[in-house]
Symmetry: C2
Subunit: 217 residues, 2 copies
DNA sequence: CAGTGTGAAGTTGTTCACAGCA
DNA sequence: TGCTGTGAACAACTTCACACTG
């Protein structure tokens, strides 16, 4: 019992990770405005968050700030992009090319954030064999045949009832990270990272907060 | 100081709200499979979460479960949809019809989750005057002229540098809830609800977890 | 006794307070 | 004085333990 291995060592808290792309965007705007140095206090003020939190979040990266001056904008941008993996392009397949999947294929900005979609899979005969934004669409059954080794990410945008099954197919094919847009909890082995991003979950929160506000009056 | 009014009374925790659409999807699949009653224990097992949590989450709605039987699937679905506001359609405008905005216009499922997009605003002359999926696209400057009273939600999918400005325009026009897809923290008066949904934030979390995993080996 | 519902314990993340520095 | 960086206090959420119910 004493030899219990400490599993999660020093994982970066998820909320911190989520804030980092925000800092990055903010910093890029600051750079555009010719700012050379920036303090966590200023970031905090402009973004409306707690200054200590900014400091703590940034301290998870390797950067160290200069007292009274702050951080150098350019290196901070580099460090953050590196830390978040936004400057090395990961390849991804998209599963489910209708609706949301289609939409993501049109979102050119993904490339700026480290993800490039190299292929799509669907079951709709009307889609298979065509291309969207230069990305070819294949039949799901051909996944194993087509799958290339250096594609590590799968984007899951199929209808809910197929989510678990398709996720399993992805995992079997060697996909290491699944970006799950369905409102289904996927269960797979530990070695596959699953990132849930249900848009409808966020909608639910927004509606609830709006109702709270109008009830209060 | 003693008369300090308790501000947030009994707000439903955000994590709970986020899980609810998941339960809903799960329940709809259960209904399709002819299940009439369901227990929180079963939901928990199938979804891979803590049973107590399911019970607690459901207790925020008005439903009460029968001991040893669980909850009636149909009424639970109704209660959840009602609680989340998914059965009364809110009207929304979308700001920024390129890339992601375009994608959302193609996501038919939004209607099922209580949101219907009735108009889009952009600045691109090539888009203005056209329609996407039957939704007309106007120039942002015409927003005040066009805005109808019963549209309460604005979807923000403009480039980061215009986010704050466009959000302000929305608020001035009487928008009550802003679904913010930009990685920018928007600051407005308290009476506008802002729901941040930065896809790139989730991407950051996924990349980080994937790196952790491959480092461990 | 399998399941609901709840108060208490534990964990995680946020905010505060302050030491150290230029 | 204005800033970084950190350890301690606090708040939010999750998990555990258990009383209760048909």
């Amino acid at each position: 019992m004493t030899s219990e291995i400490k599993k999660k060592e020093s994982q970066v808290p998820e909320p911190s990770l989520r804030r980092m792309p925000c800092y990055l965007t903010y910093l890029k705007l600051a750079r555009r405005d010719q700012q050379e140095f920036i303090s966590s206090t200023q970031i905090a003020r402009d973004m409306g968050v707690d200054p200590t939190q900014v400091t703590k979040d940034l301290s998870y990266t390797s950067i160290v700030g200069k007292t009274r001056v702050g951080y150098e904008v350019n290196t901070l941008i580099d460090v953050l992009e590196d830390f978040l993996g936004f400057n090395k392009l990961d390849k991804a397949y998209i599963f489910g090319a209708g609706g949301l999947g289609n939409a993501l294929l049109h979102d050119h900005k993904l490339d700026q954030y480290g993800l490039t979609i190299v292929g799509a899979f669907d079951v709709d005969p009307k889609l298979i064999g065509t291309q969207i934004q230069g990305v070819p669409i294949y039949h799901v059954n051909d996944f194993k045949k087509i799958k290339e080794d250096d594609v590590s990410v799968g984007i899951l945008t199929v209808p809910a009832e197929f989510a678990q099954e398709v996720a399993q197919t992805m995992a079997d094919g060697g996909i290491k990270g699944i970006w799950n847009f369905t409102p289904i909890r996927i269960s797979l082995t530990e070695d596959v990272v699953i990132q849930d991003t249900s848009l409808y979950a966020h909608l639910a929160v927004m509606f609830n907060r709006m109702k709270n506000l109008s009830d209060k009056k």
